[in-house]
């Protein structure tokens, strides 16, 4: 069923593993997680293995991603936030590589699975909560009490703040998941049009030009989205970490 736009999100077991009645099989999703990590880590490792003073092309890219994330974190969460640098760099590189890997035809997109993006965003929000309470104790709750709000409005403002905080892991995960999912489905549907119209004869082939142009344009857009979503995820991570570091800072 090659023309089914949902087909690409199916999870197929490669090596069945079952522990205590729970399915922990090595699936195509697991395979692409391993591939993502291998490619991202391998790239960062081998591109910097020369340690050149004047970087080559690959080393430049590795250094740029490093400094890009470092600046993002420093601006978002201050110099204290740098202790979370490995996490933010890992998140950014993992999501970026997974998104870009998903752009290769027939490849599985790890980040199109809600459970994966939700787990990553829960990791971030969980870290914010745990670190916030560990570092500031109950003062962390000041996060929900903006300064300068009249007393009458306080209950309303606090409830809004609490709800928006609870919505964070959901919005963070759904944003990434939905972008990847929708993008891939759209791409697949338009590519499917090309194939279907092409099968209809001369007129069909002429008309198939239109979805073909659309597919090419969408492919470009999807590469942009792949980068943008990794960036958005990393930036929001920095902002949330800033809340944990400076709960009374806004």
């Amino acid at each position: 069923m090659a023309n089914d736009p949902i087909h690409q999100f199916h999870i197929n077991t490669i090596v069945p593993i079952e522990v205590g009645g729970i399915d922990f099989s090595f699936t195509n999703a697991s395979l692409f997680m391993v591939a993502t990590v291998a490619i991202a880590a391998g790239f960062l490792y081998f591109s910097t293995s020369q340690r050149s003073l004047i970087p080559g092309r690959a080393q430049s890219v590795a250094e740029m991603s490093y400094e890009f994330v470092a600046n993002m974190l420093r601006e978002g969460a201050g110099s204290q936030g740098m202790k979370f640098f490995p996490l933010v760099l890992s998140l950014f590189m993992f999501i970026l590589t997974a998104n870009l890997l998903g752009m290769v035809p027939y490849f599985f997109t790890v980040t199109s699975q809600i459970i994966v993006t939700f787990a990553l965003s829960m990791l971030v929000v969980g870290l914010v909560v745990v670190y916030g309470f560990y570092k500031h104790g109950l003062r962390f709750l000041k996060l929900f009490v903006p300064s300068g709000v009249p007393g009458v409005l306080m209950p309303l403002v606090i409830s809004i703040e609490v709800i928006s905080f609870i919505a964070r892991p959901i919005s963070l995960s759904v944003r990434l998941f939905a972008n990847m999912l929708a993008g891939h489905i759209t791409l697949k549907v338009f590519a499917g049009f090309v194939a279907s119209l092409g099968a209809l004869g001369a007129l069909g082939i002429g008309t198939a030009i239109l979805p073909l142009i659309m597919t090419v344009a969408l492919t470009g857009l999807e590469f942009l989205v792949a980068f943008l979503q990794a960036y958005v995820f990393a930036v929001l991570t920095c902002m949330y970490l800033n809340d944990a570091l400076h709960p009374d800072g806004h």
Binding site: F9, I11, F24, L44, Y45, T48, R51
Partner: protein, 203 residues
């Protein structure tokens, strides 16, 4: 979407997933439904794979985190640090060399000024020396001349006194001779001598 379903009819079940039963039906929306392991139709919401995905995510992402933290970060950070240090070092070296050049220029100018003033001094000294030598030469010559003058004057004086002294004797002789001639008598030497002396005194 009619195209999708149309294509679906031309290639029925061509590449089913291994897990899917042969009789699976695809609707117009493309969502596989029915009896696929009793799970929901939309794969990302199929909770039967959640545990496996979570486990493998933890394993892979955890490993990735460790690699980033233990290997990549120190390495890339080190490269950037080295470069920053190298640039700072080079800048410092350039600054040091510039300061050195400035100092050299200053020393050169100072030495030039010194040489100039020294040259002036030498010229001045030479001029003074020449002047002094001329003055001393002149003084020596003048002294010599004065000495010669003095010597000449003494000689003149000597000659004069000698002459004066001889004048007495000559006068006496002359007077004696005159007296002899005039009076034919003998005037005593004593008288003549006294007369001459008186005349000399009178003169």
């Amino acid at each position: 979407m009619f195209v999708t379903s149309a294509y679906a009819q031309t290639a029925p079940a061509a590449s089913e997933t291994p897990a899917a039963p042969a009789g699976e039906v695809h609707t117009e929306t493309g969502v596989a439904h029915g009896a696929e392991g009793g799970s929901a139709g939309f794969p990302p919401f199929d909770s039967s794979h959640f545990a496996s995905q979570l486990l493998w995510l933890v394993i892979t992402f955890g490993l990735f985190y460790l690699v980033i933290q233990k290997v990549i970060m120190p390495r890339v950070g080190g490269i950037l640090e080295d470069r920053k240090g190298r640039i700072a070092g080079d800048l410092e070296e350039a600054g040091r060399l510039k300061a050195e050049a400035d100092a050299a220029v200053e020393t050169y100018e100072k030495e030039l000024a010194q040489a100039r003033s020294k040259a002036n001094g030498i010229a001045e000294a030479a001029r003074n020396e020449a002047k002094a030598k001329a003055a001393s030469d002149r003084a020596a010559i003048e002294a010599e001349l004065a000495e010669k003058l003095a010597a000449a004057e003494t000689r003149i004086g000597e000659i004069k006194t000698k002459a004066f002294a001889e004048v007495g004797a000559i006068a006496e002789d002359t007077a004696t001779a005159i007296v002899d001639q005039l009076i034919g008598g003998k005037a005593t030497g004593e008288d003549i001598k006294a007369a001459v002396a008186a005349a000399k005194q009178g003169a």
